[in-house]
């Protein structure tokens, strides 16, 4: 199972909004237990919902506040805690005033000692919880940090690639050959520029206007020279901003792009010629 896909499916948001059925809820809880990324994402959505509600919330009137506080009062009086620790101990402590028999002094001491023990135990539990909580948050922070570092790394690589392309472009001796779809039956408005350095034989390409393709096909660039058309790489129509580095072209009177089956062909399918540009 792809965790990232699961996270971005929107299911976790529905979970937080209480909009999943019992089975789906169980599934999300099991996934969260298994994958910390999912658990963290849920926490982030919960935080987001609180922030959104807090920001757009409305303060209830003082009348309601008073009414609620009154109700709290009477509700707490009605409430009887489940029988446990506190009760019997307190009764015994009350024996103290008045002449305490010797055997009772021991009892009082024992009670006092156990109260102290109980207090220190609960303090220990409280601080252990506290510690655990901080540790958990620290871990989350570390993980976030790692994600950021990774993103930065990716951006660095992208920037370096852009830099190299740019440098090549500036230092080389490139001719611009515009390839147009005008007069061809496929895409009248298509426009792709080829930059060709005759000496170094390097070819760069920049898409200006080129329609998207279905996933079974690719655009392929051809250098048409003395030996006929030579395929010099596939063109990514979605990459509009960047320069695409193509294979070397030793000779060319013209450049052209055709639509070929996924992965490209040995020789061009001329019926699917999209753009054509002659080297001046």
């Amino acid at each position: 199972m792809d965790i990232q896909e699961y996270i971005s499916s929107g299911k976790l948001e529905l979970f937080v909004l209480g909009d999943l059925n019992e089975t789906e809820q169980q599934e999300v809880l099991a996934m969260a237990k298994k994958y910390p990324e999912i658990d963290q994402e849920i926490a982030a959505i919960e935080e987001a919902m609180l922030a959104i509600d807090q920001a757009s919330g409305v303060t209830p009137s003082n009348e309601v506040k008073n009414k609620v506080f009154d109700s709290l009062e009477s509700e707490n009086q009605k409430y009887t805690p489940p029988a446990s620790k506190g009760g019997p101990l307190q009764k015994e402590v009350k024996l103290e005033p008045g002449g305490v028999p010797v055997s009772n002094a021991w009892k009082t001491f024992a009670v006092a000692a156990s109260v102290v023990a109980l207090l220190s135990l609960s303090a220990a539990i409280y601080y252990a919880n506290q510690y655990f909580d901080v540790e958990q948050r620290f871990e989350i922070a570390l993980q976030r940090n790692a994600v950021l570092a990774e993103e930065m790394q990716t951006n660095q690589v992208k920037m370096n690639a852009l830099d190299t392309e740019m440098e090549k472009f500036i230092t080389g001796n490139f001719d611009k050959i515009p390839m147009k779809g005008e007069g061809l039956p496929m895409q009248e408005d298509a426009l792709v520029n080829v930059f060709w350095d005759k000496n170094s034989k390097e070819v760069l390409l920049a898409v200006d206007q080129l329609a998207k393709l279905d996933p079974d096909n690719d655009y392929q660039l051809w250098a048409i020279g003395d030996e006929g058309p030579v395929g010099i790489g596939l063109v990514d129509p979605a990459n509009i901003l960047g320069l695409q580095t193509m294979n070397l072209a030793s000779s060319a009177q013209a450049f052209a792009i055709t639509i070929e089956p996924k992965g490209g062909s040995e020789s061009p399918t001329l019926e699917k010629l999209v753009v054509l540009g002659e080297v001046s």
């Binding site: 929107g10 209480g18 919960e46 922030a51 303060t59 009414k67 509700e75």
Partner: protein
């Protein structure tokens, strides 16, 4: 106060902790309700009952299933939705629409809320139409995502991903405030 201490205090029926809970979350929780119920009087009544339900049912809250706030918000949201579906309510509030709420309420109720909140309209203004529509159906009207998908013939996946992106946009907006 840490969430764990808060929960323990609520379970022990500690009045101070309960009041702290009110101070900290009443605004957000009342927001959840008044998004769905526009009549202020009814909304406050539902809020009172919802908050008391939280206090009484705190022993049913299960930490392993989500944070306290999420549990509380769902109680309030469900109480509000139940109210809108009750007979008594539909008689009184036939003409309410989302637009009347989002675009009409601020002027009706005066400036009190405008000062302490950004208002729903402003919160929603960064959403695109598709995100806003889905959020209005689910977050305001209390539809389930399957109801929205069926009623408006949208693929389930589309509804889900719109909710996801909408929450992201809203969070960004909320953080700016």
């Amino acid at each position: 106060m840490e969430e764990q201490a808060l929960i323990e205090g609520l379970r022990a029926r500690n009045k101070q902790v309960q009041e702290y809970l009110y101070e900290k979350y009443s605004r957000a929780l009342f927001g959840v309700i008044s998004r769905i119920i526009f009549d202020r009087e009814i909304a406050e009544e539902v809020f009172h009952d919802g908050f008391m339900k939280i206090i009484k049912k705190i022993d049913n809250y299960d930490e392993s299933k989500g944070r306290l706030y999420t549990w509380m918000a769902n109680i309030c949201r469900n109480s509000a939705i139940d109210k809108t579906r009750s007979k008594e309510f539909s008689k009184r509030n036939k003409t309410n629409t989302i637009d009347a709420y989002v675009y009409g309420m601020e002027s009706e109720t005066g400036t009190a809320e405008a000062v302490d909140g950004i208002g729903v309209k402003e919160l929603m203004e960064d959403l695109n139409d598709e995100q806003r529509f889905v959020m209005e159906c689910i977050y305001f009207k209390g539809y389930t995502h399957t109801e929205v998908a069926e009623e408006y013939s949208l693929p389930l996946g589309t509804v889900k991903s719109r909710i996801r992106s909408a929450i992201k946009v809203l969070k960004k907006k909320a953080d700016k405030i």
